[in-house]
């Protein structure tokens, strides 16, 4: 057994190890970060294109205090910022807004992205981004055709309602999933709560864009 190492040696070896680890990680980060960012970008794009049919490209805005502030770097978005994506088609005409929202579900927080047409004042597309709802029951919000079909032309005024008995009668009603009523209701509440404060702002923006095109 060698003598007890001095504390100087301990400090040096720990620092050296820390430096080496840091260097190795910095290198890995350098290589992987562009790919990771590209993956995130692609996931966002795919989701936006799905909820806003006909979209070719989009602009990002931060909605706060009654204005839409353009976001230059999409990676700087924080979770507490309400983001709104303005979609445009090949002729640069507005296709609508894609809006991310999150709220309490049956099990855990549900994250969704929905497409909103400010001229018709309708929700025109909907996708669940992230949920931990019960497999086989609550996770039907991901794939139940009748439920998802309700979001093709869903009027948002006066409020979105949940139709639990039979097919929807009015165009502001969502068809509840049997066996997943609570998850369905969670989504309706989430959409109402998220869209209400944004409605005026989005209408103004749409008017500035020049309204519906013929």
């Amino acid at each position: 057994m060698s003598a007890q190492p001095t504390s100087a040696r301990l400090i040096i070896s720990v620092t050296l190890a820390g430096l080496l680890a840091g260097l190795l990680l910095a290198a890995t980060y350098r290589v992987t970060q562009p790919l990771i960012e590209a993956n995130q970008q692609k996931a966002t794009e795919t989701a936006i294109f799905q909820v806003l049919p006909g979209t070719d490209h989009f602009e990002s805005f931060w909605a706060h205090d009654g204005i839409l502030e353009p976001i230059e770097n999409p990676l700087s978005i924080r979770a507490d910022q309400q983001v709104v994506y303005l979609g445009r088609d090949g002729q640069n005409q507005m296709t609508g807004f894609a809006i991310p929202a999150a709220g309490p579900g049956f099990q855990d927080t549900i994250k969704v992205l929905y497409g909103f047409d400010p001229n018709k004042r309708e929700i025109i597309g909907f996708q669940v981004l992230d949920s931990r709802e019960t497999p086989g029951l609550g996770d039907k919000i991901l794939k139940d055709p009748a439920f998802l079909g309700s979001f093709k032309h869903l009027a948002v005024e006066p409020v979105i309602l949940l139709q639990t008995k039979g097919p929807p009668q009015h165009n502001n009603e969502v068809d509840a999933i049997s066996g997943a009523t609570i998850s369905s209701r969670a989504i309706v509440n989430l959409l109402n709560k998220n869209l209400n404060p944004l409605l005026d702002l989005l209408s103004q923006k749409a008017q500035a864009e020049g309204g519906p095109h013929e």
Binding site: P5, A17, A21, L25, Q33
Partner: protein, 219 residues
């Protein structure tokens, strides 16, 4: 028993000293991500990489690492490899990264990995350490895949995404939910206990018989 060889060091982790079923280590990932076979396999593979790489490094550097700070060093090494795995999965296999989520980073606190560094890699040459790490990691991966497989078959009626029983099977949803993880591992531990008890009983029976047969030859 005195001479350690590669083969036995490799094999012990898979069955005799299986980290999940015998040592009951690394519980958090073995239950949290095993709601499907493929997730179990991916988690096992990530752990495999971290465990083998850390063991190589710790074993190679064992004379350089000062004793008083060795645990911090092991943790530093493990955390570095886990971060590399985390970044690589996010870059090249984003779907798997999303499915495993924060549990990839939690490999750091998997007692199995730190345990092998302290108990084996820091005392043995590189070759043996690799064999030990690979055996343990393979045992861990097999256990996770098995748990994931059982939970997926019963809870979803499928294996590796392929439907097994046709449309009339009513899946036991509870098996892919958290309670199913506890039940599956509890059941498997019971099976292992049964196997261990039987082996011990057989051993005892042989020992009791031995003097009768071998008695005269000793003299």
């Amino acid at each position: 028993m005195s001479e350690k060889n590669l083969q036995s060091e490799f094999l012990k982790g898979i069955w005799q000293e299986n980290p999940v079923f015998v040592a009951v280590l690394g519980l958090c990932p073995s239950l949290a991500v095993t709601n499907s076979c493929i997730n179990g396999l991916a988690m096992g593979a990530a752990t495999f990489f971290v465990l083998v790489c850390s063991s190589i490094l710790v074993s190679a550097l064992k004379s350089v690492i000062p004793k008083p700070v060795r645990i911090s060093m092991y943790v530093l090494i493990i955390a570095t490899f886990v971060t590399i795995v985390d970044f690589s999965l996010a870059a090249w296999l984003p779907d798997i990264h999303k499915a495993l989520g924060a549990f990839i980073a939690l490999i750091v606190v998997n007692c199995l990995i730190l345990g092998r560094q302290e108990a084996f890699a820091s005392k043995n040459p590189v070759g043996l350490s690799i064999a030990d790490a690979m055996g343990m990691a393979l045992g861990f991966t097999l256990a996770l895949t098995l748990i994931g497989g059982i939970r997926e078959i019963l809870g979803n009626g499928s294996l590796l995404g392929f439907s097994l029983f046709g449309p009339h099977f009513e899946p036991w949803v509870i098996m892919v939910l958290p309670p199913g993880g506890f039940f599956t591992l509890g059941g498997l531990l019971m099976v292992f206990q049964y196997w261990k008890d039987r082996k011990q009983a057989r051993l005892r029976a042989e020992q009791n018989r031995e003097p009768l047969v071998k008695g005269p030859m000793v003299v």
